[in-house]
């Protein structure tokens, strides 16, 4: 028993010692350290880390800046929000990768730095006009650019050309409208003798991301999901797209009725397309890299088509921008603030954006990247990337995802309703009305707590 007591005593002392050692770390004189939080996982995370490393070795070394690479994972937004809520300036990042859903949170803190107040400062050479318009629009909240677009993507319809060939079709027959997808998809279905699906016509998950894109193209000016300029002029309170959403859900209902046409699974979409389970797949251009890698291994031929529309003549919205951005924070230290700006400027410079895009499959936010020889070669070798770029440039800047902090809840409502329609338990009309009711309820709950 004495032994245990001794162990406990030692443990207690050790912990007390740890508590006592609350000293701050010293910084080398002349070197400014900044914390960079990001949420890039897997191979993209490795690329992100190597870029930060490269910054430290090149531009950072020149200017006396060291950027700390801090991976915060899928809970980056939660962590940032906690820091902001508790006003914990000491532990706030200097630069943080954020999605557009976090814009209202960034707007609510006075630590965030307006990107517009920084142009032209430091040794920066990138100008606002160098960046793609939809990127600027995406992260502009209540008229202020709160965050620098950094990694962007757009949604594509990936098509298995081997399956097309089996059905007597070729790359010239890539679908342009949802009616085309419906017709072609049926020709691509493969069933065994017992009616089990060997190959689905199309892999289309209908959740927040997909709905906003599929619906966003509709009409001359595109379609917004919610009011207040889709959440960019203030908090959203109403869903304003009943007719357009119904159009999508009617199409979804039509697809659901054909056995084997629709696979609505959202898991491992790249893998399930590359393995041939789904003849077509609607998913982000961020999947190009993985799909290329996998199909190089198994020899499958494929092509990417632009996001299908409902009516080629009238649907001009284009696809919404996906991806994330870099926000910067003022922690009361001018040197750190300037260093954070230098870092962001380096990250969106044409060369770095091209390097980032080639290594990850994202699209560059800097238009000048497209003029670099290395990137031109890359695009020439990857037709899917050029389709994605073309689509990105064609889209109206105002076609954007909705800015809303409760986006996961909304995504859940949409997904559940889509599943219910697919299973035939509710009609398209019921689904749309339910989504609107549930979403507006979630908006008002959030707004009550965050006005």
């Amino acid at each position: 028993m004495k032994k245990i007591f001794c162990i406990l005593l030692v443990a207690m002392t050790a912990v007390l010692a740890l508590f006592a050692s609350g000293s701050k770390e010293g910084e080398d004189s002349g070197v400014v350290t900044i914390d960079v939080w990001h949420s890039m996982e897997g191979s993209n995370g490795q690329v992100m880390s190597s870029l930060i490393q490269k910054f430290n070795e090149t531009k950072g070394k020149e200017l006396g800046i060291v950027a700390n690479d801090v991976f915060q994972g899928s809970d980056t937004a939660v962590k940032l929000k906690t820091c902001i809520q508790t006003n914990d300036i000491e532990n706030m990042p200097d630069v943080c990768q954020i999605y557009n859903a976090s814009l209202p949170v960034i707007d609510a803190t006075n630590c965030a730095v307006d990107i517009d107040s920084m142009w032209g400062k430091g040794s920066a050479s990138v100008e606002k006009t160098d960046l793609i318009d939809s990127g600027i629009y995406c992260y502009t909240y209540e008229g202020r650019l709160l965050s620098m677009p950094f990694n962007t993507s757009t949604i594509l319809l990936y098509c298995n050309l081997d399956a097309f060939a089996e059905a007597g079709l070729s790359e010239a027959d890539l679908p342009r409208t949802w009616d085309d997808v419906y017709e072609i998809g049926q020709k691509l279905i493969k069933l065994d003798e017992d009616g089990n699906v060997l190959r689905y016509g199309v892999n289309w998950q209908l959740a927040r991301y997909e709905l906003f894109d599929v619906m966003g193209v509709i009409g001359e000016n595109g379609t917004a999901f919610a009011d207040n300029n889709n959440g960019r002029d203030g908090l959203v309170s109403k869903v304003i797209c009943r007719d357009e959403m119904l159009q999508v859900f009617k199409m979804w209902e039509k697809f659901s009725k054909v056995p084997g046409l629709l696979n609505d699974s959202g898991s491992d979409q790249s893998g399930n397309f590359a393995s041939g389970l789904n003849a077509m797949a609607l998913r982000s251009s961020a999947g190009i890299g993985a799909i290329t890698q996998m199909t190089d291994a198994n020899g499958m031929h494929w092509a990417a088509a632009k996001l299908p529309v409902f009516n080629v003549e009238t649907d001009k919205g284009g696809a919404a921008l996906g991806g994330a951005s870099l926000a910067m924070f003022d922690r009361g230290d001018e040197a750190k603030k300037n260093a954070a700006w230098e870092f962001i400027m380096w990250m969106v410079s044409p060369e770095v954006q091209a390097e980032w895009a080639m290594a990850t499959g994202y699209l560059p936010v800097n238009k000048k990247s497209l003029e670099l020889d290395s990137y031109k070669e890359f695009v020439a070798a990857s037709p899917a990337v050029s389709v994605a770029l073309e689509q990105l440039m064609e889209a109206l800047p105002s076609t954007q995802e909705t800015v809303m902090n409760m986006q996961d809840e909304i995504s859940g409502y949409i997904k559940t309703a889509a599943t219910d329609v697919k299973n035939g338990t509710i009609s398209a009309e019921e689904a749309v009305d339910r989504i609107i009711a549930e979403s507006e309820q979630a908006f008002s709950t959030y707004n009550r707590a965050n006005q």
């Binding site: 028993m1 007591f5 162990i7 406990l8 443990a11 207690m12 050790a14 912990v15 740890l18 508590f19 050692s21 609350g22 701050k24 914390d35 939080w37 996982e41 897997g42 191979s43 993209n44 995370g45 490795q46 700390n68 690479d69 801090v70 991976f71 915060q72 994972g73 899928s74 809970d75 939660v78 962590k79 906690t82 809520q85 508790t86 914990d88 000491e90 532990n91 491992d268 790249s270 893998g271 590359a274 393995s275 041939g276 389970l277 982000s284 961020a286 999947g287 890299g289 993985a290 996998m294 291994a297 499959g361």
Partner: protein, 278 residues
């Protein structure tokens, strides 16, 4: 008579088969994860992939350890879980002793307050806890990670319930012999209630080992991360990370698995001991 025995045997056999099947069903995800961790990427991908690897390989383990410093993460997790569980036993058993044996004003109210802490979900206290820990400059420190795990109402309750079953005759006898409260607690009560202490230690260890959000919130350096945070570094929606993730998960499971293996009798006995008397 004979038929009754045969029938009983048959029933017993059936019951055991049923138990084995249920056990397998519960174990299945783990078994599958184990096989995936040794499977080549090409097999994980193919639609027709079977359960058992066609080509046994350790490349997933190599990839997992190359992506993130898992040994460091495991040390961090182990240190935090072990020390905070030890302290938790100490705080919980001392509090339980007071609740079980001492009489003082406000005892009931205090005890109900302890019970009430069960009802508060961790998420609610997250921001407040964070504010406190950040205010104490304990971000990126082991003590900051451990701080919220040092006292637990459920553990106090469990140990108190166990103490309540302790024979009052022995306690009275020791008092008559001049034994002090602390001596009685330390030399008599704790050794005879070791089962519940082990149970508390194990549940606490596993709980802290598996925690994710809090260690993520209070650490900003890779060298201070715990295993559960580390695993998310391998996750990648656009790639094929299943092999390395399963490999890392297998490694991460080992400590919990070993502890359960060595102490499983005590866990069950401890649960019984704590659950009898109210």
């Amino acid at each position: 008579m004979k038929t009754r025995i045969t029938r009983r045997n048959a029933f017993s056999a059936l019951f055991q088969i049923f138990c084995i099947l249920v056990g397998l069903a519960i174990m299945f995800p783990l078994i599958y994860a184990f096989f995936i961790s040794f499977m080549g990427a090409e097999q994980i991908f193919s639609i027709t992939s079977g359960l058992i690897p066609e080509r046994w390989t350790t490349e997933n383990y190599v990839a997992a350890f190359a992506t993130a410093p898992f040994l460091r993460f495991m040390f961090n997790s182990f240190f935090v879980s072990f020390i905070s569980s030890l302290i938790r036993i100490l705080t919980a058993s001392l509090a339980a002793f007071a609740f079980a044996f001492l009489d003082f004003p406000g005892k009931k109210v205090l005890f109900y307050l302890v019970i009430a802490t069960f009802l508060i979900p961790g998420d609610v206290t997250l921001a407040a806890n964070y504010r406190t820990i950040a205010g104490l400059h304990l971000i990126n420190k082991y003590s900051g990670i451990m701080a919220i795990y040092l006292v637990n109402g459920m553990n106090i309750f469990m140990i108190r319930q166990s103490f309540k079953t302790f024979s009052t005759e022995i306690r009275d006898a020791s008092y008559v012999d001049g034994c002090s409260n602390f001596r009685f607690f330390w030399n008599i009560l704790l050794p005879s209630n070791y089962q519940i202490l082990i149970t508390v230690f194990i549940t606490s260890f596993m709980g802290v080992w598996n925690s994710y959000l809090w260690p993520l919130m209070v650490t900003n350096k890779t060298s201070m991360r715990t295993v559960q945070v580390g695993i998310t570094m391998l996750n990648f929606a656009d790639g094929n990370p299943y092999g390395p993730i399963m490999a890392a998960s297998m490694v991460v499971i080992i400590p919990s698995f070993l502890i359960f293996l060595f102490f499983r009798k005590q866990i069950v006995a401890g649960m019984m001991a704590g659950g009898v008397k109210g």
